[in-house]
Amino acid sequence: MMNRRNFLGSFSLLSLGLAASPAPTCIAARAVAPEDFCLNLVTDDSDLAIPLLEALLARALSAYKNLKFSEYKLAGQHIADLVLIRNRRLLDYKTSHDELAKGLYEIARNLNLPRKVENPVLMKFYTEDRRRTAATLNLFGSNILLKQLSLTENQGPHEVESETGRVTFVIRNKSVKITAATCRHKTCMKMGSINAAGQSLVCIPSRLRIAIEGQDESGLDGVTF
């Protein structure tokens, strides 16, 4: 079971990592650098949440022409809530007073946040910050986000399981490698190790995916292989 503290802890993992990294010191450089923005929402009512957030982001973030959106199912019980990370800082929309914070406060009220929910979705609205270092590992089973792990410390072996199989992986020196798999052909083990944002290891028969959060530095939209 995940409580509110754990939820904030897991989804602000990245923000804490980013906050710990050296902040830009030149004001002029900060002014021209694209602003980093990430809004995470765990909810069981995406049909209500999406139009509200679309409208708010159009009003309050008019400078952004291309925000990214992704949505994952979460298994089990979670705390439905909003987490806003802006310029690498975790912001409390309840105590801020700008248009975005006020809008989020209204949306949180409409969605009756925070509260416990079963099998919700995690929605992310974000800009891609290519300066970001690979820090978070997402584990998916049949496209359900099962777990998030930090890539910055050596861990494992960890096991992740789906209805159709199981893989074992280790994190060493900020790289991930699948060391064992129950599938027949072991193609996922032959994929080697990954260490950069946007890379992933996939075990098709087990429908398991281990992905490093973010987009690779080259900004590719797809790879043919």
């Binding site: 925000l67 496209n143 429908r207 080259s218 790879v223």
Partner: protein, 348 residues
């Protein structure tokens, strides 16, 4: 009365003038509202991971369109997957050697096109390779083995697109010999991508990228002044790339010896078989094809992988596709037009 004055006093003049006056404001309001979201989704279909990525102003519309497109791929898998026991293809493989099997027009049409590719490519692309690919085990839930030479020799007579009988009037498929099997692996994924792309367009999504196990179709643009940006995987450097290029309203597919393979006594055996020998095609590490549709890219990639770069050079007729090869000596060969028109850039 002066005709100019008459026009100026008319109701129509005031309406037109009002529209003209407000037009810039209306247009400005519309452009300000045109925020695009980059929406992505992933599903496991056709035994692989299918990714969809789109630029659209409405997330809900995009999600609906993705749902329909995924459903379309699932529908095609139900028709054409040899591994799904209830598919039309599985039924053909089971019974067409004994008597003609009635199929849907769609299945008949894709088998007909696949046979046409077989003729065009002089038998180097052949969907009747099924008995050989099943024997090796790639793509099937069975152990991959290097078969005995005599076993391959026994099965080779079952391979040959000329032994597939297509009856358009009765919409039936029959085999000349029992034991024949069709394997649409070289064309079905591309066809499914093309069908999903059609669904997305019908749903009003104009700018999108579909990626099914490295077979990619990109429509429109990623942003106002930016096409979709695609990389080509290095056949030996795991997770490394050899090149990147821009893609818009075109498809790319790659056939390689590095995705599904086994090594026995330091020799690599992969899953793309030469229909004439029954053994993995030995001339190419990786070959990528740029084509107007994913189906064409898929079929051409299999064919060109088998004949290799030297074989490609001997093709005299004008082609609708562009090619990039990595041969067995790690040497890269590519069509200059790809570099010029699609900003192909090689990476260190």
């Amino acid at each position: 009365m002066n005709p100019v004055w008459t026009v100026l006093r008319s109701k129509k003049f005031f309406i037109v003038a009002a529209i003209l006056l407000y037009c810039p404001f209306l247009l400005r309001a519309q452009t300000e509202e045109a925020r695009l979201f980059e929406v992505s989704a992933t599903k496991y279909l056709m035994g692989t991971q299918v990714d969809m990525l789109a630029q659209h102003e409405s997330i809900q519309s995009c999600k609906r369109a993705f749902y329909e497109a995924f459903r379309e791929i699932d529908r095609i898998e139900n028709l054409l997957s040899a591994q799904r026991e209830t598919s039309e293809l599985a039924r053909i493989n089971q019974y067409a050697g004994r008597s003609p099997v009635k199929v849907s027009w769609e299945t008949l049409a894709i088998i007909k096109r696949a046979v046409a590719y077989g003729k065009k490519f002089n038998g180097h692309f052949d969907i009747s390779i099924g008995p050989i690919s099943y024997l090796w085990g790639f793509g099937w839930e069975k152990k991959i083995v290097v078969p005995e030479r005599s076993r391959i020799a026994t099965l080779l007579p079952l391979v040959g697109y000329g032994k597939i009988s297509i009856n358009e009037r009765d919409t039936t498929i029959a085999f000349a010999r029992d034991g024949m099997k069709l394997d649409l692996g070289g064309i079905a994924k591309g066809y499914a991508i093309d069908c999903a792309a059609r669904i997305l367009r019908q749903q009003g999504i104009k700018n999108f990228l579909l990626n099914a196990d490295g077979d990619i179709y990109a429509a429109g643009h990623k942003s106002d002044n930016q096409k979709w940006h695609v990389g080509i995987q290095h056949p030996r450097g795991k997770q490394a790339l050899i090149a990147s290029f821009e893609l818009s309203d075109f498809a790319v597919a790659t056939s390689g010896d590095y995705e599904r393979f086994i090594e026995v006594d330091s020799k690599r055996y992969h899953h793309i078989f030469d229909p004439r020998t029954g053994y993995p095609a030995p001339l190419t590490q990786s070959m990528s094809v740029l084509a107007p549709t994913a189906e064409e890219a898929d079929a051409w990639a299999t064919y060109l992988f088998i004949i290799g770069f030297e074989g490609y050079q001997k093709i005299s007729s004008p082609q609708t596709v562009l090619a990039l090869f990595v041969d067995m000596n790690d040497k890269i060969h590519w069509d200059a037009i790809w570099e010029k028109n699609y900003l192909l850039r090689f990476l260190d």
